[in-house]
């Protein structure tokens, strides 16, 4: 045997040195900007293969040897996620990039309002879930060493496997520190690590395929004989347990999404969303190849190896037993690759969480943040990560020691999976349900965590090690429903299915209920929207990767806000100042500050800052930013509402002016019409007077003619005088300068006087009255009232067109008001003219009946003065007017009736 332990160690060191070289070259290439191939989908897909750890490499064969095809479920979950939930991964990646997330803990914390409590909680769960996993890797590497050692005849006294595990742990810690914290910029991606992992992915796949090919075509002698062997093996008798299959598939899918190391390579290290598209088919293919020869190796191993040989080591021990040292070495390197790649990435991921969410907050609290100002935070971060890595390894080693190092690899892995799966409800709820709250996430995680401890982690440490045997059998304090493997009395379930069922069920229930009964804070709402609607919020995820692309985006934004010409001038000037051709300058800090100042002139400082920050990809918009934006918006709204008020006032004033103008125009038209009317009314009698005066002046008229024409002149002069009287009367009444002579009078007497004055005694008009109803005492101006009555009686006399005209005057009293109706038996006033009769110069009929048409207008004014009214009474058959007078009349000082305003 040439494969001595020393040789193995030398091979390991040489292999590690090779990885170092690859990583170093990759990082140098990335620094020089020639790292495009680093972002290729193939590298991305291979980096995902850290899902396949030593557990997969060694453990899957052991799993198959013990439990048949069940090992497939571990591949089935991720395959389903990759193929069926590709969009979910894309969403995760997009969120991770837009929010600049560094870990699973960061994701959950950031989603629920940047809650430190959640971050610490998830970090702790991840750390606890990771311990068994690290232990698993230590165990597998240690076992592979001892496997070689057993074969080694000339072996030095077999060292304590625990010592080997310790040295492996120490070596891996060193390896991880050198790799994972070499780069001083703690937030950047680890190009070197990713490339090293990709190389390791190829090595482990190649190694497993090589062993598989060797087993099938060399040992078994081809596919046919191999199938016969499988048929004859105990694996054939394996029975499928539906519950375990479903549970394990779900579990592996959940773990694929929540494992910190998977998040690290899938989201944090992702530089091109498009790579996911390739990975969605390439990664399942990789998993398929990894699982292809598991059963043949297990079958051959079971057949060839002595009873009691560890099936987990078949991949190594079968080639060794056949004397294929080189193949065994390759296989060893494959297993070593699986373990180291997983440990490195997991440690980096966990160290990031520990330092960001646990160490740094504590350090900042104790140092009062003074160092933030002096600027050596980076060093502190790096130190924190190094210490975290050492701690992770240390605890992993401790777990390995505690668990005795004898447990099957697969079952340790499952403990870890279930622990990390507890993050799933909060994570999925967080990116798909805006109603999810911090409290809900804490409650769900808390329930899941406690149940996981009780039902899975603690029992897995060994019967009686932490949980006493009687508690396992009868529950704590004799409470049977709290037995770790039979919660709530659900007995007889497989412990794993039992744990998956209860942890995830109650975790989800707690999360949903907790979210429903609590309200999210504003920051939670904001982050919830950013996460759930990440595709609306980030249309251009590539934007921060290139300077020119950023400048273009800034330009587009600046044009929208400043206007095209101003923005172009600004950018061109800056480009010229930087000595660049074209119009796009480098987005230097100075330029960004300048741009921000210019933008803030238009949209406010906070908004400008948020906009530039958004384009430059500088974290997300903080709540303070948003509040400042809201303040600015409020100010602008206040200002604009003031403007609005002013403009409303202007509109109102303009409307009033327009109304006033219209009124003046109307008044002017009315005045014109009035003057025209007066002119007509005055000129008409004047015409007769002048014409006959000239006729009389001429000689040669006989005395009859002289007398007749002098009579006409006289009548027309009277008519003129009456017209002038009416005009004056109306003017006085309208101006309110009228003097009323209020005294007691009897209605009947006023009517008698009016009847006489209207010339109604000539018998042309018969007047019907009921004197008894007219014996009413009034307090009013009797002369003015009489003037109204005279007009109404005279109108009836002039206009009633009945052959035997009759005017009926009837009086009614309701206590306060007296109504006197004048109804004649003529044809009345046409409906369309009824409104007009009280207007000046309106004559109802075409017939010439004397008068200028001022009578009723005067009546209306008088009645308004007397506190009563006069109106036309339609539907009485003939012409009908109603006069209302207050019995105890007060002289009203109200506006005259004709004044419209």
């Amino acid at each position: 045997m040439i494969a001595t332990l020393n040789l193995l160690i030398a091979v390991c060191l040489g292999y590690v040195a090779l990885l170092f070289l690859v990583a170093f070259l990759a990082e140098r290439a990335a620094l020089r900007g020639r790292g495009a191939w680093l972002r290729s989908p193939v590298v991305y897909t291979l980096s995902l293969s850290i899902y396949c750890t030593a557990w997969t490499f060694y453990g899957a064969v052991g799993y198959a040897a013990r439990a048949g095809l069940e090992y497939l479920t571990i591949y089935l979950g991720p395959t389903l996620v990759m193929i069926g939930w590709w969009w979910l991964l894309r969403k995760l990646v997009r969120i991770g990039r837009t929010q600049r997330l560094t870990s699973v803990a960061d994701l959950v914390s950031s989603r629920y309002g940047k809650s430190p409590a959640l971050a610490i909680f998830v970090t702790l769960i991840a750390a606890m879930g990771l311990m068994p996993y690290i232990a698993l890797q230590l165990q597998s590497v240690t076992e592979s060493f001892t496997t070689f050692a057993r074969m080694d005849d000339s072996a030095m006294t077999l060292e304590d496997p625990r010592a080997i595990a310790f040295w492996v742990a120490a070596g891996l810690a060193l390896f991880t520190i050198l790799f994972g914290t070499r780069n001083l910029d703690a937030n950047e991606r680890h190009h070197g690590v990713v490339i090293a992992i990709a190389v390791e992915a190829v090595v482990k796949l190649f190694a497993l395929l090589a062993v598989g090919v060797f087993v099938v075509w060399w040992v078994a002698g081809g596919v046919g004989p191999m199938l016969e062997k499988i048929d004859a093996s105990p694996i054939r008798t394996w029975q499928m347990d539906g519950g375990r299959w479903a549970g394990l598939t779900i579990l592996s899918a959940a773990a694929f999404l929540t494992l910190p190391r998977m998040f690290q390579v899938m989201v944090v290290e992702n530089e091109d969303e498009g790579a996911l598209r390739t990975a969605s088919w390439a990664f399942p293919l990789y998993l398929m190849l990894m699982s292809l020869f598991v059963v043949p190796i297990a079958v051959v191993g079971l057949e060839m190896m002595p009873q009691g040989a560890n099936p987990d080591m078949f991949v190594l021990s079968v080639p060794l037993s056949q004397g294929q040292d080189m193949l065994a070495l390759l296989s060893f390197l494959g297993g070593f690759s699986s373990a180291t790649s997983m440990v490195i990435v997991a440690a980096i991921a966990l160290a990031t969480m520990l330092s960001n969410h646990l160490v740094m907050p504590l350090w900042l609290r104790f140092t009062g943040g003074g160092a933030v100002i002096s600027g050596d935070v980076r060093g502190v971060v790096i130190q924190a990560r190094r210490i975290s890595i050492i701690s992770v390894m240390g605890f992993g080693y401790l777990y390995y020691r505690l668990s005795g190092g004898g447990t099957a690899l697969a079952s340790i892995g499952l403990v870890s999976f279930v622990g990390l799966a507890q993050v799933l409800p909060a994570m999925m709820g967080g990116i798909f349900w805006r109603g999810a709250t911090r409290i809900g996430a804490l409650v769900g995680l808390g329930i899941g965590f406690v149940l996981w401890l009780w039902c899975m982690l603690l029992p897995s440490l060994g019967e009686g090690s932490i949980i006493p045997a009687h508690v396992m059998a009868h529950g704590p304090f004799g409470m049977g429903w709290l037995r770790p493997y039979a919660l709530f009395g659900i007995d007889g379930l497989d412990p794993l299915v039992h744990a998956i069922l209860w942890t995830l069920l109650l975790n989800t229930a707690g999360f949903v209920l907790g979210s429903l009964v609590t309200f999210p804070t504003p920051l939670e709402r904001l982050q919830g929207a950013q996460f759930v609607n990440v595709f609306q919020h980030s249309n251009n995820p590539q934007s921060w990767s290139g300077g020119i692309a950023q400048s273009e985006d800034l330009m587009v934004m600046a044009q929208r806000i400043l206007g095209a010409s101003e923005a172009q001038a600004l950018f061109q000037d800056e480009a010229a100042r930087q000595g660049l051709k074209g119009y796009l300058p480098e987005p230097t800090p100075d330029f960004l500050a300048l741009l921000e100042r210019r933008l803030s002139g238009s949209v406010g400082a906070a908004t400008a800052h948020a906009m530039v920050g958004q384009i430059m990809g500088a974290a997300t918009v903080s709540v303070e930013d948003l509040l400042a934006v809201a303040d600015e918006t409020a100010q602008m709204m206040e200002y604009s509402s003031q403007l609005e008020t002013k403009s409303e006032e202007l509109v109102r004033t303009a409307r009033q002016l327009r109304a006033a103008n219209e009124k003046l125009t109307k008044l002017s038209v009315q005045k014109d019409a009035f003057l025209s009317q007066i002119s007509h009314e005055l000129r008409t009698p004047m015409t007769s007077i002048r014409a006959f005066s000239e006729i009389l002046r001429d000689l040669g008229l006989n005395p009859d003619e002289q007398k007749k024409y002098a009579g006409i002149i006289h009548d027309e002069a009277i008519r003129l005088t009456r017209l002038l009287d009416d005009l004056l009367d109306l003017s006085v009444l309208e101006n309110g300068q009228v003097h009323l002579n209020v005294r007691s009078c009897v209605l009947a007497e006023v009517l008698d006087h009016a009847q006489a004055a209207a010339g109604a005694q000539d018998g042309t008009l018969r007047i019907r009255r009921r004197r008894i109803s007219e014996e009413v005492m009034l307090t009013t101006d009797g002369d003015r009232l009489s003037q109204v009555f005279i007009n109404l009686v005279a109108n009836a006399r002039k206009y009633c067109d009945a052959s035997a005209p009759v005017l009926t005057i009837s009086v009614r009293s309701d206590g306060a008001m007296l109504t006197v109706d004048f109804v004649d038996n003529g044809s009345g006033i046409p409906a369309e003219a009824q409104d007009m009769v009280f207007e000046k110069f309106s004559r109802v009929s075409d017939q010439k009946a004397g008068g200028a048409g001022l009578g009723l207008a005067i009546c209306r004014e008088i009645m308004a003065r007397l506190g009563g009214s006069v109106g036309y009474l339609p539907g009485q058959g003939g012409g009908a007017f109603r006069v209302s007078i207050p019995i105890q009349g007060e002289v009203t000082m109200s506006q005259p009736a004709s004044t419209q305003s």
Partner: protein, 122 residues
């Protein structure tokens, strides 16, 4: 002689005055006092000249003038318009519609006779 004038006017006293003046001057005078059928009366009486008031019951003098000018039989008929609304716009209106002469009330008798004589050559 035998020249005939139709006076369309609604004020009885003015009709009487014009009738007296024109008759004394040797004109044959017909009178009509509302606007409704004034155009028909003009066509029926076929006078040598029409004296037309603007403000008439039933129909405005302007409308009557428009109809007369639109009718071939009366398109060239001399029309003397009288109005008591002595504003410039009334004069403009009358001229635009084709009034032969426009006079504002009150008028002088001599002026009316002179206008008639100039409009209807003896």
């Amino acid at each position: 002689m035998g020249k005939r004038v139709l006076v369309i006017e609604d004020e009885p006293n003015i009709i009487e005055a014009i009738n007296f003046i024109l008759s004394r001057d040797g004109w044959g005078v017909d009178t009509h006092s509302n606007g409704h059928d004034a155009v028909d009366v003009v066509l029926a009486k076929a006078p040598n000249l029409v004296i037309l008031d603007v403000m008439l019951p039933g129909r405005s003098g302007y409308d009557i003038l428009k109809d007369l000018r639109a009718h071939p039989q009366t398109a060239q008929l001399p029309v003397l318009m009288l109005t008591a609304r002595g504003q410039n716009k009334d004069r403009d209106m009358a001229q635009r519609l084709g009034a032969s002469r426009f006079m504002t009330k009150p008028f002088s008798n001599a002026e009316v006779l002179e206008a008639l004589r100039s409009l209807v050559p003896q």
